[in-house]
C-alpha cells in the first residue's frame, strides 16, 4: 500500500497540466495523471539507482538522474 499519507497537491497537478495543455481537466483525471507521474518517478528512480550503482556511487547522484531522464521520458512518451 502506498506510503503517502498525505494527499498530493491535487490543485497543483491540475494547474500544471492545465497550463501545459491549455485545456481543462475533468474532475478526477488528475488522479490518474498523478498515478502516471508516480509510475514515471518509479521508473526514473529505478533507472537512476541502477546507473549510479553501476558507476559505483554511494547515493544517487544528480548526474545519473540527468543521464537517465531522457531515456525515461522517452519511455513515457504517449
Amino acid at each position: 500500500m502506498a506510503a503517502t499519507q498525505k494527499l498530493y497537491p491535487r490543485a497543483t497537478v491540475k494547474r500544471i497540466v492545465k497550463a501545459q495543455a491549455n485545456r481543462s481537466l475533468s474532475k478526477n483525471a488528475d488522479i490518474l495523471i498523478f498515478l502516471d507521474y508516480m509510475l514515471f518517478m518509479q521508473e526514473l528512480m529505478r533507472e537512476a539507482s541502477i546507473r549510479s550503482r553501476k558507476a559505483g556511487e554511494k547515493h544517487i547522484s544528480p548526474n545519473s538522474v540527468r543521464k537517465v531522464t531522457e531515456k525515461t521520458l522517452r519511455k513515457f512518451k504517449g
Binding site: M1, Q20, L32, L39, S64, R66
Partner: protein, 470 residues
C-alpha cells in the same frame, strides 16, 4: 616486352653463351638434369636447355643462372610449355623466353624506368623545398590562429545549448559554462596588449606566462626572441595547440592548485567559447581584469562540492558531464564583471525556470512542490536500494527538472488525445489511453490495479467514483 632492344642487348651479354650454344643438345641437357638433383629443382627453360647444351656452358651456367632465370618453378614450367607449343622455338631460346618470366619483365621495367625515375624524384622534391618556409608559416599560423578560432567558439556554444535543451535537465548551466569560456577568450584577446608588455618585461614574467607568449610573441617579436621562446615555451607547455597553452599558462598565472582544475576545464571549453564577450573584454582589457575574472569562479565554483561532481562526471561520461556541471558552479559564483551577452541571457532564463515557468500557451506553470517530489523519490529509491537511500539537494533538483519535463510531455500528449476525441477537457479516458500507450496498462493490468498499488485509499475511492470499472 616493349623494351626488346634493351633487353636483347643486355641479355646478349649474359646469355650469349646460352643462346649461341643452345640448339644442338637438348637431349643431353635433359638427361643431365635428371641426373643432377640440383637441376631437377629448376626444370628446364628453353634458355636453360640451350645453355646446358655444351658441357662447359652447363657447368658455368647453373651457378650463375640460379639468380637469374629459374626463380620460380611455376614460371619455368610455363615457359617450357610455351616453348613447346610455339613453332619457332629457336627464336624463343634467344632470350625472349626469359624475357617473359615475371621477374625479367619487372627487371626490364625497372631498368627502363631507372633513367626516367629521376624526373619523378624531382616532383616530390619541390614540396620539401617549400616545407622550411611552411615551418616559418606555422609560427605565423600560431599568431593567426586566435582570430579564426573565435568563430569556432561561437558555433559550438549554440550546439551545446541545443543539446542541453533537448536532452538534459540543466541546459542552462551549459550556457553558464560559456561564461567560463568567455573568461578564457578574454584572456586570449586581452593578451594581445599583454604581449607587448611581456616581451619588454620578459625577464620578470617569463616563468609565469609561457603559453600566452608562444602564439602571440611569434607574431609580434618573431625575429628577436622567437628562438629562445621556442625552447622555453615548448618544453614547459603541454602538447596542445596554441590556445590550450595560453589557457594553461593563464591558470598557472592566477593560482596554483585550483587553477589547474580550471585549466582542464578550459581545454574542453576553449573552442566553443563565444567571441563577442571576448571583444568587449579586450576593450576593457588590462591584465588585472583577467585575473579578476578567473578568480571568483575558481573560489566559489571549485570547492569540494564541484570536485565531487567532476569525478562523477568522469565516471559516467567523460567531457559531457563536465560541461553540465561547470555551468552550474559558474552560476553559483557569477561575477558581475564577466558580463557577456550570453551570460545575461542565461541568468534571466535560470531565474525564470526556478521561479515560474511559462508554458507554451503563455500560462504560468506552478512547479510541483519539492516536498512531494522528494517524498516520492525517496520512497522509490528506498524500494530500490534499501532504507539508506538518500537524495541530495542536487539530485532532487535534477528530479524536479525531470518531473517538470514529464508534466510538460504528458500534458501535451493528453491535450492531443482530448483534441482528437473532440473534447475540450482532458478526460480520464485520455489518461488511460496515455497509460496504455506507455504500456503501463494492458489487458491484464487495469488502471485500478495500478492505482491500488500506488495510490492511497482516498484517491482510489475518488477514482473509482469517477470511472466505473469496465
Amino acid at each position: 616486352m616493349s623494351s626488346t632492344p634493351n633487353s636483347r642487348a643486355r641479355r646478349s651479354a649474359r646469355d650469349s653463351e646460352v643462346s649461341e650454344a643452345s640448339t644442338p643438345a637438348r637431349d643431353t641437357t635433359l638427361t643431365k638434369l635428371q641426373r643432377l638433383p640440383i637441376h631437377t629443382r629448376y626444370p628446364s627453360t628453353p634458355s636453360q636447355l640451350a645453355a646446358s647444351a655444351t658441357p662447359r656452358s652447363s657447368s658455368r651456367y647453373t651457378p650463375g643462372n640460379r639468380g637469374a632465370a629459374p626463380s620460380t618453378p611455376y614460371g619455368l614450367r610455363a615457359m617450357q610449355r610455351r616453348a613447346a607449343n610455339t613453332p619457332g622455338r629457336d627464336r624463343r631460346k634467344s632470350g625472349r623466353g626469359q624475357r617473359e618470366t615475371v621477374f625479367d619483365v619487372l627487371r626490364n621495367l625497372s631498368k627502363a624506368l631507372a633513367p626516367n625515375s629521376q624526373p619523378i624524384r624531382s616532383s616530390p622534391q619541390p614540396p620539401p623545398e617549400p616545407e622550411p618556409e611552411s615551418e616559418i608559416d606555422e609560427i605565423d599560423e600560431l599568431d593567426n590562429e586566435p582570430a579564426p578560432e573565435r568563430p569556432r567558439l561561437s558555433l559550438p556554444l549554440d550546439e551545446v545549448e541545443e543539446d542541453n535543451d533537448e536532452g538534459s535537465p540543466e541546459i542552462r548551466p551549459p550556457r553558464m559554462s560559456l561564461a567560463l569560456e568567455d573568461d578564457d577568450l578574454t584572456h586570449t584577446s586581452v593578451e594581445y596588449p599583454r604581449r607587448a608588455t611581456f616581451d619588454r618585461d620578459r625577464g620578470r614574467l617569463s616563468t609565469m606566462s609561457y603559453g600566452a607568449r608562444l602564439s602571440e610573441n611569434f607574431g609580434d617579436a618573431m625575429g628577436l626572441e622567437s628562438g629562445s621562446e621556442d625552447g622555453d615555451a615548448t618544453g614547459m607547455i603541454l602538447d596542445a595547440g596554441g590556445q590550450d597553452e595560453t589557457l594553461i599558462s593563464q591558470g598557472a598565472f592566477d593560482r596554483g592548485g585550483d587553477t589547474e582544475d580550471l585549466g582542464r576545464f578550459n581545454f574542453d571549453f576553449n573552442f566553443p567559447s563565444p567571441n563577442a564577450p571576448a571583444d568587449d573584454l579586450d576593450q576593457d582589457g588590462p591584465l588585472n581584469d583577467d585575473e579578476g575574472f578567473e578568480l571568483p569562479p575558481v573560489d566559489l565554483g571549485l570547492g569540494p562540492g564541484p570536485e565531487s561532481d567532476y569525478s562523477e562526471d568522469g565516471d559516467a561520461t567523460g567531457g559531457f558531464g563536465l560541461e553540465l556541471n561547470l555551468p552550474a558552479r559558474v552560476s553559483m559564483s557569477e561575477s558581475p564583471g564577466l558580463v557577456g551577452g550570453g551570460l545575461r541571457d542565461e541568468d534571466t532564463v535560470i531565474q525564470g525556470s526556478k521561479q515560474k515557468k511559462i508554458s507554451r500557451h503563455g500560462i504560468p506553470v506552478p512547479t510541483m512542490p519539492a516536498g512531494v517530489i522528494r517524498k516520492l523519490a525517496t520512497r522509490f529509491a528506498r524500494a530500490r536500494s534499501g532504507p539508506k537511500a538518500k537524495i541530495s539537494k542536487n539530485t532532487l533538483a535534477a528530479i524536479e527538472q525531470a518531473s517538470s519535463w514529464y508534466f510538460e510531455q504528458a500534458s501535451g500528449d493528453l491535450a492531443a488525445y482530448s483534441k482528437h476525441a473532440g473534447r475540450k477537457t482532458i478526460d480520464e479516458a485520455d489518461v488511460t489511453a496515455l497509460m496504455r500507450r506507455q504500456r503501463h496498462l494492458s489487458n491484464t493490468m487495469t488502471v485500478f490495479s495500478l492505482a491500488q498499488k500506488h495510490l492511497p485509499k482516498e484517491l482510489l475511492q475518488d477514482m473509482r467514483l469517477a470511472m466505473p470499472p469496465r
